[in-house]
Amino acid sequence: MALYASLISFRRLIPVFLTLLAVSAAIAFTASTFMGAYRTAVGLMGTGSSDVLLIYGASARAPQTSVVPLSLYEKLRGIDGVEAISPEAVSIAMIGDEVVVVRGIDPSVFPEISGIRLVAGSLSLDGSASALIGENLARKMRLGVGDTVLLRSAFSDAFLEVKVVGVFRSGSYLDDELLVPLYAGQWLRGLPRDAVSLIRVKIDPGKLGKEELASLLRSGRPVSGKASPQPESELMRLLTIPRARRFSMNYAVRSPEESMRSFLERQVKVNEVAVWSAVATVISGSILLVYLTSSTMIVSHSREISVLRGLGASRRNLVTRSAILAVFSSLITGVIGFFAGLALSNLFSDIGLIRVGPYSVRPVFDVYSLAMTLIAVASVSAVAAAAAVESIIRGDYLGG
């Protein structure tokens, strides 16, 4: 092997390495970008906490487009095992020509349930003229504490001027959103005061399960499981309507990820298989190039291989060593290319070239995509190298 390695001209292999690196980077870039886009969409309602559930209309296309009565809030307060209740009104508004997702929240509950952390200003939403802005959105719109913006609702005739009182970070989709008090979200969504888009609840898994909660909501019976109901927040006291309408509707109770995954599968027909299909398309499209490159790598050493053959090296030995060389080269370039593709994907995300609607995509490092990249490039390279050695031994390249 040492003799074989000493005959290799690494200068001649530079273009080969660069090409394999480019192919691996392209595959990794595709995998991390597409998987990142999918995971961003799936994580759009998530908080990273496993004991948070979403309650929304079962017939709604997505949790964000659902409408549920606020009377449900009262019912949830009385259920034993419900630790926090966060009603939300999700809307879309325009700031100038930019589309922004505006979420109406209860500021006394939402920061705790969503895990947002203050970056600048304050988390106190004092009235409809105040707003909290996610870090990514603040950077994109060049907004900071004290700035005011005009929100034009996409769903209603409401337009609202708000002053940014705080910048927050969550490490999730919320970093691309604007948070306003619940009632301001209702105006922008065009909802009456006794309706919201969805209710997020934090449960004590020891006392209450998802199925149990769904069954309690389905039953329609008044709930009397809790000795002292969850205290009503200041904002919810403002919104309470003495004779609030009571809707008869079916609710979906799901984890945030489950709800978005279900929406993507049912309505958009996108799942992880579709993402891997995109990666497979790039791999298929690059197969001939990898083949051509690896065979060139071997053929460029046809003289050396012919000499070794002349000195008595067996066909099997030459084929095996060439294949090992090809696999080794592709593994090294594959790993470097993978991380180069991941870095490129992060760069594209940072400069806003890869987005899902108004949300930035966080590229995903996926060990399966690394394995897929390496296996694809290495196996094609090995086959190409073996075939090239066979053709050299056959004499296809003799005499130039």
Binding site: R12, G127, L150, A154, F155, V356
Partner: protein, 378 residues
């Protein structure tokens, strides 16, 4: 040059096995770029077609350099707008203020509206109590009233612009709209409170007529923004998402560059004999370069044509299957826009020319009779 091109073409077709390999290598990569672009176009068109036509009859006119709270427009502009045919104007001034009642306080907007009573009637806004046309009468929104514990006949203290006023609450509004958390009063009355903003407006709500002269508005240093811009918001979000697919294709051109380099290297190596014959019969190095480069470009041309077709056809097959499962009434066949085609062709050409020039150059400067030059050299 045409003679060299013809020779190159003959050389390409005389070695179909290798030519097809190179064409396919490049075409597959072009197809990988073209197919997702075509699907993205179709998906985007399909979604745009299915967007419900929610529109508003109203718009707001604001200062063209609109910076909320600081950029105002002059009241005199209402006359000009009327002359341009804008009907039902509602001039408004918004002032950010601190409102206090007993020991409770909050920051809200005070909205001054011209002819408040007519505005309420036009919008169907219910007022518990009476309107607020005369100083120091004001109306407050129901949420603000609840927050501060304000009732009809109460006095609230308002601080803004370094001044403090005591205002009397004559009505409480409940409209499930932003007025629910504001203080409303007549425009003239607000100007009395803030003389520094006299004849200034924050915005004018209007019912725009057809064929608005946007240039005329620009010359007045104002701009018109439609309320309820659902279609625009949806189309912006859709185009941002599908633009990402086009952005994703950018790094793939680096792979095309590499493929073009390898294909051209192989082509130039395989053309050694032909180049030597050309040089022996008196062809210059430039002609030899053009011959090898033309061969690479012909291969590339075929690859682009094949790749674009392959990409579009495979996109149509895949998208038809998806659309069947989507049961959509708005099926749009995947296709590339002329702009996409130009972009793919141009970027592929640039990548390929960059990849092909050096191998062709090396082939042309090779000394005649140099035995050591194997056809397989890079």
């Amino acid at each position: 040059m045409p003679g060299v091109l013809w020779l190159a073409f003959r050389s390409v077709v005389n070695d179909p096995k290798r030519s097809v390999l190179y064409v396919l290598t490049l075409a597959l990569l072009v197809a990988v770029i073209a197919a997702p672009m075509a699907v993205a176009n179709a998906y985007s068109r399909q979604l745009l077609t299915s967007i419900p036509g929610i529109t508003s009859e109203r718009a707001i006119i604001v200062n063209s350099s609109y910076t909320p709270g600081t950029a105002f427009i002059d009241y005199s502009i209402t006359e000009k707008l009327r002359a341009m045919g804008f009907k039902d104007q509602v001039p408004q001034l918004l002032v950010y203020a601190r409102v206090e009642k007993d020991n409770r306080s909050t920051s809200v907007f005070i909205r001054g509206i011209e002819d408040l009573g007519s505005f309420y009637r036009a919008r169907g806004i219910r007022v518990n109590g009476s309107g607020a046309e005369d100083f120091p009468d004001v109306n407050v929104g129901v949420l603000l009233a609840r927050r501060l514990g304000v009732g009809l006949g109460d006095v609230i203290r308002v601080s803004a612009g370094g001044q403090v006023w005591d205002l009397s609450v004559t009505g409480i509004i409940d409209c499930s709209c932003p007025f629910d958390d504001e203080v409303l009063m007549g425009l003239n009355e607000l100007w009395k409170l803030r003389p520094d903003l006299e004849n200034k407006l924050t915005l004018i709500e209007v019912v725009p007529k057809d064929g608005v002269d946007l240039e005329a508005l620009k010359s007045m240093e104002v701009k018109m923004l439609f309320e309820k811009p659902f279609r625009k918001a949806a189309s912006t979000a859709i185009s941002e998402t599908f633009q990402s697919i086009k952005s994703w294709t950018i790094p793939l051109y680096a792979v095309i560059l590499a493929a073009a380099y390898f294909a051209s290297s192989k082509i130039s190596a395989e053309s050694e004999g032909e180049v030597e014959v050309l040089r022996c019969i008196g062809a210059s190095r430039g002609t030899a370069f053009r011959f090898v480069f033309s061969k690479s470009m012909l291969i590339l041309g075929f690859a682009i044509l094949l790749g674009l077709s392959l990409g579009t056809v495979s996109a149509q097959v895949a998208f038809r299957a998806i659309s069947t499962t989507l049961s959509t009434n708005f099926y749009e066949a995947p296709s590339l826009t002329p702009r996409d085609v130009v972009q793919v062709v141009l970027l592929t050409l640039v990548s390929s020319v960059a990849g092909a020039i050096y191998p062709a150059y090396r082939a042309s400067v090779r000394k005649l009779g140099e035995e050591a030059w194997l056809s397989t050299h890079l």
